[in-house]
Amino acid sequence: MTFNVTEVLEIPIGVGDITVERLLYFVFILALGVAVAKVVSINVRRALAERLPVNERELLAKLVYYGIIVWAFVVALPQLEFDLSGLLVAGGIAGLVIGFASQSVVSNLISGLFLMFEHPIRIGDNINVADVSGSVEDIRVLSTVIKTYDGIYIRIPNEKVFTSNITNYVHNPARRFTYEIRIRYADDANAAIRIAKEVIETHPFALKNPAPSVFVDNLGDNSVNLTAYIWAPARNWWDVRTDLLWKIKVALEENGIEIPFPQRTVRFADGLEVKGRPGEKNE
């Protein structure tokens, strides 16, 4: 029995006049398109590595990637005797069917495109969205990937991201944080304010303007409560916050100003009889 490749290639697959050869052509063109798309998008990423911010670079690379794949698909379609003009005619009905069937997918896709162009979040931003806090690892066409501060990977569908309240902690260049500092009533609050301001002034990233503010906020049960408002670059505020508080505490203590313990003054109506003092005999 002889095996003729040409004959095999000419076998119809049972759909219209499409033969195995044409099907293979279709698959080949599509595979070639995916391969070219990958190579080109990787090179786009490399070429723009230090020229564009991560977000723009990723968006451009993805546009190039999917653009080439769509182009390959359109080029390959005639192999399946697929008439694009027919697609236009059938588009209305097919669109309805596909629309109902892939409602959530399309919704995620459209949300993803809006996210990419509107830029409420960017790759690397620290955000809170849909009760998830972390840094944005990737904004994909259908989903957004977040790495939580514990290092856990979370994928959120773009529709959920787009329709949720997004808190972007680093969208603005600067942000403010607050300390509450408690000192004893016996301590000089003005001196405490001066010392705290001096410590804040020494930190490079505690911004000069807007100027930090330290003031007596309220008189508490056990302490005079000072509040410090400090502005820092949004991307460095956590480092500044963790760095400064202890320095302020140390500086205050070095100047004899201490953080008080809770205390109560107790008065006994009939006086207080203390038994068992040292030197007393028990009866």
Partner: protein
């Protein structure tokens, strides 16, 4: 200390020590400044170490490209122009250069740094902050701590304008060194709240050497377009 060095060398200026010496057969770059030490082993046959002043926006960590110099307020008449001298902070950059490439090895500086926000917290920019007096002539400076900036201010609007700060994009900065570190800049006042600033690529005195820029060494393409101060200058 500023200049080019090949192989082993040792330069000591006050509290700064910069050297490249052979330790256990390995060429080692070492820097000591204000009690802090930095070391790197250099594997190089033909490379040179270049030490020069660089754009002062890298320490303690690189977070911005902007430099804001605050000075005593000046009232400037409509149409008037004047050249004054300011001081700006100096950071010292160490590069390793070969025939094919240049790379940043180390950046250090004396003293502390301070940053500020120029503009509003929603759309302003973080900038390295520095306070300077205004000098009619080139002031005396320690070349390892401060540089001299020749600033030509031109008021092109029809009103008196008060100026007490100037913001630059450091990617435009052209630094020259010789007996002292210098940069030449311009500030054109467009309205009462807007001004255009830029650096001039020219030495303040003949014979000064142009510094290798960090942005060139880091291969970060930057367009020299100046900076538009949109949030006032007083």
């Amino acid at each position: 200390m500023f200049g080019r060095y090949r192989g082993t060398f040792r330069r000591e200026c006050g509290d700064i020590l910069v050297e490249a010496e052979t330790v256990d057969g390995l060429l080692t770059y070492r820097r000591r400044c204000e009690g802090q030490t930095f070391e790197r082993i250099l594997v190089s046959n033909t490379g040179e170490v270049v030490i020069n002043p660089v754009e002062p926006v890298n320490l303690p960590r690189e977070i911005t490209d902007f430099l804001l110099v605050e000075f005593s307020p000046m009232m400037i008449e409509p149409g008037a122009s004047r050249t004054v001298y300011l001081k700006f902070p100096v950071e010292i950059g160490v590069f390793v250069e070969s025939a094919r490439d240049i790379e940043v090895l180390d950046v250090f500086a004396f003293g502390t740094q301070k940053y500020t926000l120029y503009g509003s917290p929603t759309n302003g920019v973080i900038a390295r902050w520095y306070r300077s007096a205004v000098y009619p002539e080139i002031p005396q400076v320690d070349p390892f701590r401060e540089g001299v900036m020749e600033l030509s201010i031109q008021n092109t609007c029809r009103e008196w304008v008060e100026v007490s700060r100037v913001v630059f994009e450091s990617t435009d900065m052209k630094i020259y060194y010789g007996d002292f570190v210098a940069a030449t800049a311009t500030m054109k006042l467009l309205t009462r709240t807007m001004a255009e600033t830029d650096f001039v690529d020219a030495p303040l005195r003949p014979g000064m050497v142009k510094s290798v820029e960090l942005y060139t060494a880091r291969k970060i393409p930057a367009i020299d377009r100046g900076y538009l101060m949109e949030w006032g200058f007083s």
